[in-house]
């Protein structure tokens, strides 16, 4: 239990957030407490930054009153999701005083994960999730995977993030932030867990769709997400916190169903579908250590092997090496089998 504070300290030398001047002993003495997580399953107003900022402040205060150590808001909770050309109009720089004011509200209170449109110094727009702690912006994750298919059009309006980093937290565990589609790529939870995250936080604006009686809870999207989160929690032996918004942007209704999953894959808490609210879930961070001792999957990961094979794949897909596993006659790159005529 007490080791958890050291775990990230050990893996994160020289990184932002690590203070080499701070004596190790102080960390070792830190007692990790059970953690109360508040899930702000809200319906942001599209394009109304000020209204949403005020709502975040209210809920931060309510989470503090409710004894939460961490409060999580959904993807683009400060702006609404379907922004299109509004994106540049609601964008904030990281030094924006409005963001600083929101961060300020975490001084002496719970840590918060909030999400907004971030404009970089070179005027790229990112879908960002920030960890606010002790009154400041502690860490920013820029959405790495931008869905641009089906009902999604994110790459038209946003730039891709280029980093996946776990971040130490005052909670005594490493946090791994991800935004919605980031979790539809296996590498995201894996990299974050290997980088020291013990609590994976996914903030989402997941549109409800694929209504069919055969799906769990009647909604295809919910079934898929539930499978993902249970699987990731178990494979990374980490807590998974999922905060999904509710409400309506244009044609799209967001389904909520925020959850907290334990490192065993068991469900700790499920918020109702479609209901707006601030929901509390209690976890015992000691579950991470217990699960990782009994099921040492992370210990047995082989990142050097994976990196080697990925380097090979990258070279082959770029045509810089011949595809070692392809049939004769297959094109370099994706193809393993020789060309097949598509079915009419």
């Amino acid at each position: 239990m007490r080791n958890l504070g050291r775990t990230w300290a050990h893996t994160r030398g020289g990184r932002r957030g690590f203070d080499p001047a701070r004596p190790r002993a102080a960390r070792r003495l830190r007692v990790v407490q059970p953690l109360r997580i508040a899930l702000a399953q809200i319906a942001p107003r599209l394009g109304e930054l000020e209204v949403n900022l005020a709502r975040h402040q209210e809920l931060l205060a309510a989470a503090r009153d409710g004894g939460a150590g961490l409060v999580v808001f959904p993807e683009l909770g400060l702006t609404g999701y379907l922004l299109q050309d509004l994106a540049s109009e609601v964008a904030m720089r990281l030094d924006d005083p409005r963001l600083a004011a929101l961060a300020g509200a975490t001084a002496g209170g719970p840590s918060a994960v909030v999400s907004f449109v971030e404009e970089s110094a070179d005027h790229r727009l990112f879908i960002a999730a920030a960890l606010l702690e002790d009154g400041e912006v502690r860490h920013v994750h820029r959405k790495v995977h931008l869905p641009t298919y089906g009902l999604f059009d994110e790459r038209r309006f946003f730039a891709q993030g280029d980093m996946l980093r776990a971040v130490p937290s005052r909670l005594g565990v490493g946090l791994g932030l991800a935004v919605c589609e980031d979790f539809w790529h296996l590498s995201t939870p894996q990299v974050l867990a290997l980088d020291g995250a013990q609590l994976l936080v996914n903030v989402s604006s997941s549109p409800g769709r694929d209504l069919a009686a055969t799906h769990e809870v009647g909604l295809g999207t919910a079934s898929s997400w539930r499978s993902l989160m249970r699987t990731y929690a178990q494979l990374t032996t980490s807590f998974v916190v999922f905060c999904n918004r509710v409400g309506v942007d244009e044609s799209i209704s967001f389904w909520g169903g925020s959850e907290v999953i334990s490192p065993t894959g068991a469900v700790v808490f499920s918020a109702p579908l479609f209901d707006e609210g601030l929901f509390f879930a209690d976890i015992d961070l000691a579950d991470v250590r217990r699960e990782r001792i009994s099921l040492p999957l992370l210990r047995d990961e082989r990142p050097e092997l994976v990196a080697r094979e990925w380097r090979r794949l990258i070279a082959e897909r770029a045509g810089l090496a011949s595809d070692a596993t392809a049939e004769a006659g297959a094109m370099d790159g994706f193809d393993v089998a020789a060309d097949q005529a598509p079915v009419a």
Partner: protein, 298 residues
């Protein structure tokens, strides 16, 4: 075909929805659309058919029947039974209703009893399709005017099946501020109608555009709604090829005919193209959500 036949209607298994989730999602959608536009009330045209009856129930469930105005707009040849069915919906919901006969408007254009209307003598012989489309557009005009007097948004009632095959009138019955059932196939409209309590006679009767006496959708189209819905589901939602649909048991001629209907109706489902001339063109590279700060009625 797998599925259920309740006696009232046949429901292909793959089209069955969780009606509780659907009602919740649609209620949120209706409330969201109204709130974002700055409205609290809604208006719709109630024909006595299942689609508009279902939407009336859904709107009443979402915002309360007292905020709904149903407008009954019969033409002189419209089926009296349809009107009775519409009146039964109004009675059961306890919502406001108005009767606006469109006969004078339609006959004023096409003429009647040998007396020419505004369109001239030749229009006395207008074919039923023209008359039907004109009626649909007169109803649209009435609804948009009542939208002002009632202070409510016009709610669309067209279903996914008719939108896909183009069994709608452009700027007529398809005109609306938002549509809560436009992504439900006719079979799903029936399932949801049964769950929400639409009167059984409305669910069980043969669907009809009622553009002329005795008309029914299915005799006009030449296939049943469950069969058509299921084909559209596999062809469009599940991206099955023509060959794969034939393997599912459909006749190739039907699959190809439905394909042509869907492609031929593409223009009815989209905003008309604007010639690109300037630096920023609405719908092309000027892309905003319909509802955004400042767009709600004050």
């Amino acid at each position: 075909m797998n599925g259920t036949d309740s006696g009232l209607f046949e429901l292909p298994a793959e089209l069955e929805i969780d009606t509780d989730v659907a009602r919740r999602l649609i209620a949120e959608f209706i409330r969201g659309q109204l709130r974002q536009a700055g409205f609290e009330r809604a208006v719709l045209g109630l024909s006595g058919g299942i689609d508009s009856a279902l939407v009336a129930y859904l709107v009443a469930e979402a915002i309360g029947a007292e905020r709904l105005l149903c407008v009954l707009m019969p033409y002189r040849t419209s089926s009296p039974a349809s009107r009775e069915d519409a009146e039964e919906v109004v009675r059961r919901l306890g919502c406001a209703s108005e009767l606006v006969e469109i006969t004078a408007m339609v006959d004023g254009y096409f003429g009647a009893d040998g007396v020419p209307g505004a369109g001239g003598r030749a229009d006395l012989d207008a074919v039923p399709l023209r008359r039907g489309n004109f009626m649909a557009r007169m109803r649209m005009a009435v609804l948009y005017d009542r939208s002002v007097t009632w202070g409510g948004l016009v709610v669309g009632t067209g279903n996914k099946t008719e939108a896909l095959i183009g069994y709608t009138t452009l700027f007529g019955d398809s005109a609306c501020a938002f549509n809560p059932v436009g992504d439900l196939y006719k079979s799903q409209v029936r399932q949801l109608s049964a769950a929400i309590g639409v009167p059984a006679p409305i669910i069980g009767k043969a669907p009809s555009a009622d553009l002329w006496p005795g008309q029914t959708d299915e005799t006009e189209a030449g296939f049943s709604y469950p069969a058509l819905d299921r084909l559209l589901f596999w062809r469009i939602d599940k991206r099955r090829s023509v060959e794969e649909c034939v393997a599912l048991g459909y006749e190739r001629a039907m699959v190809e005919r439905v394909d042509r209907m869907v492609a031929g109706a593409e223009f009815k489902r989209q905003v008309p193209p604007i010639a690109k001339l300037g630096p920023r063109t609405t719908g092309v590279d000027y892309l905003y959500p319909r509802r955004r700060p400042g767009s709600a009625r004050a």
